[in-house]
Structure formats: structure tokens, C-alpha cells
């Protein structure tokens, strides 16, 4: 077993009195494509900046290819391809000048690979960076992040500001250039349906820590919508991992995170139920804004009467 490419252990980080990360743990295995998801402002960029040695954690440890980015930031930056969020660099240089300028920082820079990317990504070399479109800018950033043949690539919301066609192109670049080369990729996004086709593993960051990390297939398997009679739902609440619950007319609509176990139990007990697949957006929503108790509470009129359980 090779050691993980990226390791984050119990990281805490606050800015003044705002706690951003509180006990963040995550591991990215070598060669994986790892999607790092969370709503805006949940600390994705903060985490990535710590991995690049641009920020330090208040507590906890980070490792990139076994190196501590806080102690060896230059070493880490040399071995990692990094695309910052909303990266705009040296607007007064032409794309060609930026490429030559950045190349000088990397001993492993591969000129022929850079030339190939220029063609494939259709980067206009003679255009000044500030005149590039959003998509061209991301692709130039990607070229700069990849042309030194890094083992690990860290991309901060590369799809941000890209239109649907360019997002698909970006996913294709990821599959074609990085996954086939065995490169480890960690990239952040807030668009689950965009990461599903390409990610091996997804992790959901919420309130300062990872609330769920798994393969997309496993997540689909486990997290489903379960529809039951209210009485049954309350009786079985202890056996179900409930992420969200809503009371509808005569039914409780639950989003659960242990669908195979739950259905096995319901079947052996002969309890009527319905199980539905969810889209990844619905799954994400359940984790970050789900209210596990709202549909499972007793209606007000009976709660005053029923005191024993």
C-alpha cells in the first residue's frame, strides 16, 4: 500500500472569531480523483491554501506527498500543480510570456507538453492575459498547473465561471490528461452534478468538518428517499440514519443514509414502504440543509397526551 498523496488530520482554523474548520480530516489516496464539496464559505479555499502552504492551521497537521506544506512550502509548490480560485495573473503579459515566466520556476517543466496543451486548449499565445475570456484563463491556469508534470494537482473550483460546454470540456481534460496519467487530483466544487461523472471519491465539507466521504456509487447506494407511515417512521427512527425528514399527507418522507440495511429491516418486519433513488444534488442538500427531526416529531395535539414511549 502506497502512502496517501494528501493527508489532513484534525485541522482547526479560525479567522478572528469566525471558526472555519473544526477538526477537518481527509485522506486522498495516490491516483484518486477527489472532489471536495461544500457550499460557498465553508472553508474549501482555506483548506486548499493550507495545503499549498499559503496559510497555517491553528491546530492539526497537513501532508502533501509526505511533506509538511507549512515547513516546506517551496518543495510542496514545486511538486503540486495548483490552480487558484479565480486566478488572474500578470494581466499585462501575453499568454506566451506568462508560460515562459512560470516555466522558469519549475525544474521539471516539460516544454513539449506545454506546447501540446497550448494546441489542445486553444490558448491564444499573443493575447494579453487580461483580454482572455474566463474559459481561456482557466485553461491557461490549467496548462501552467500541469506542464511541470506534477504528481498531485490541486484545483480550487476550476468550474467556477465556466459555461456548461466549457465545464464538460474541463471534465474531459481531467479524464484525458490527468486520470489516464495516474495523477492524484483534488478539486473543489459546489456543483455536485458536475463532479459525479469524473470523481472517484467525493467529500462533503459542512460546518468545519467532513460530514461524508465515499465513492459516488456507494453514496448513491446508501442515501435514498424512504416513504413510510408516520407511526412506523417514529417507531423505527432509532434504526435509520436520517438526514432529512418531512411530514406529508399521511406519510413521512425521509432521506436516509443506510438504505440497504434499512430496507432489509423493513422487509423482515413486513412494513410497507417505498424507496426512491435521489439525484446527487438532492443527496448533497440532505447533508447540508437536512432537518432530521422535523417530520418525525409527534403532531402537537397528540404530544400532550402521549407521555410514555
Amino acid at each position: 500500500m502506497t502512502s496517501p498523496a494528501i493527508e489532513i488530520r484534525d485541522v482547526h482554523k479560525s479567522f478572528r472569531d469566525k471558526t472555519v474548520l473544526s477538526g477537518l480530516n481527509l485522506t486522498v489516496e495516490s491516483g484518486q480523483t477527489f472532489a471536495f464539496l461544500g457550499r460557498n464559505g465553508e472553508g474549501k479555499t482555506t483548506t486548499i491554501q493550507m495545503l499549498m502552504g499559503l496559510l497555517s492551521p491553528d491546530q492539526g497537521t497537513l501532508r502533501v506527498l509526505g511533506r509538511n506544506p507549512q515547513l516546506e512550502p517551496l518543495e510542496v509548490r514545486r511538486t503540486v500543480g495548483y490552480l487558484a480560485e479565480d486566478q488572474t495573473m500578470f494581466g499585462w503579459m501575453t499568454a506566451e510570456e506568462v508560460i515562459r515566466f512560470v516555466a522558469a520556476f519549475y525544474p521539471t517543466w516539460d516544454h513539449s507538453l506545454a506546447t501540446r496543451f497550448v494546441e489542445q486548449f486553444d490558448v491564444p499565445l499573443k493575447t494579453k492575459v487580461r483580454h482572455l475570456s474566463k474559459g481561456q484563463n482557466v485553461r491557461l491556469g490549467l496548462l501552467l498547473a500541469l506542464a511541470h508534470r506534477p504528481e498531485v494537482v490541486i484545483l480550487d473550483d476550476p468550474a467556477l465561471g465556466l459555461d456548461p460546454i466549457m465545464r464538460k470540456e474541463f471534465n474531459r481534460d481531467l479524464v484525458e490528461h490527468l486520470q489516464s496519467a495516474g495523477t492524484t487530483v483534488l478539486y473543489s466544487s459546489h456543483l455536485l452534478y458536475e463532479v459525479e461523472p469524473v470523481a472517484d471519491v467525493i467529500a462533503i465539507l459542512h460546518h468545519g468538518s467532513i460530514v461524508r466521504q465515499s465513492t459516488t456509487d456507494d453514496l448513491r447506494e446508501q442515501v435514498k428517499r424512504l416513504i413510510l407511515e408516520p407511526e412506523m417512521a417514529r417507531r423505527l427512527a432509532g434504526e435509520l440514519t436520517v438526514l432529512d425528514s418531512r411530514l406529508s399527507t399521511g406519510e413521512v418522507i425521509l432521506t436516509i443514509d443506510n438504505a440497504p440495511d434499512a430496507t432489509a429491516l423493513l422487509r423482515t418486519q413486513g412494513i410497507a414502504h417505498r424507496l426512491e433513488d435521489l439525484s446527487l444534488d438532492e443527496i448533497f442538500e440532505a447533508f447540508v440543509v437536512g432537518r432530521p427531526d422535523s417530520g418525525l416529531q409527534r403532531p402537537p395535539q397528540s404530544s400532550t397526551v402521549a407521555t410514555s414511549v
Binding site: 471534465n171 479524464v175 486520470q179 461523472p197 472517484d200 459516488t216 410497507a272 414502504h273 426512491e276 435521489l278
Partner: protein, 144 residues
Amino acid sequence: MFIRIEKGSSTPISRQIADQIRAQCLSGRVKSGTQIPSVRQLARDLAVNQNTVLRVYEKLTAEKLLDMRHGEGTFVGDELPKHELKAERIRFLDELTQLAQHGRLLGLSATDLHALLDDALAQTQDASAITDGAPRTRNTGDNA
């Protein structure tokens, strides 16, 4: 072979790809022995993780729909499992739809119908446990 993917669907990407390849093989639209895109090529075309495509190909190979020949590529299987399977299933789906409509007219809710289907499934499981080893009354296609 044409495959399209719907992003953000409640059907997982891997199942979308598998279902479409299976349908095209069984319907005969793609003939036995035809070479289909490599894992790498299809992954690129669809902008989908190579591992996802590989798992789909492996699954369909296990179902004898595809034949992954080492070093040569992937082909549509020579002995497809039962050509009439797809037609049979479509007919079955029509019947099931009619039954469901009938049930709704009788005042059964969706939950009731699901429960009834579950009961029916449980009964077929019980029945197959009892008749295990004995000849079936209906040919289910698994005794080839």
C-alpha cells in the same frame, strides 16, 4: 454506438451507460462481434471517469453482452443472452402499466401498489425456495 448521459439525474451515471449499451446490444442495433469504443475512448467522449466505464464494461462482460479481448479491444458478445429478452420485457412493462392503472382506478394509492408488489415479490421468493431444484412451470430463461 450512441450513448447520452443526463447529468444530475437520479439514475447513477454507471447505470445510465450500462442500460444504454445493454439495450443497443439486445435490440440488435449493434451487431454481435462489432468492436465498440475502448474504455479510454468512451470515457473521453462522455467526459466520464475511466474507472466508471471500466466497471460498466466488466459488468456487461460478466453478463455476456460484451467480450473484452485482451490487447484487441472490446466487442459485442457472440452469444447474447436471449434475443427476445428485450421484447419480452417491453411487453411485461406494458402489462404492468395497465395493472397499475387498473389499481389506481380501484382506489389503491401508490404506497398500496408498492406494498402489493413487494408482497408479490416476497411470494415469488417463497415459491422459488420451495420449488428449488424442481422444474419450473414457466421457463425463466436461466436454465440454458
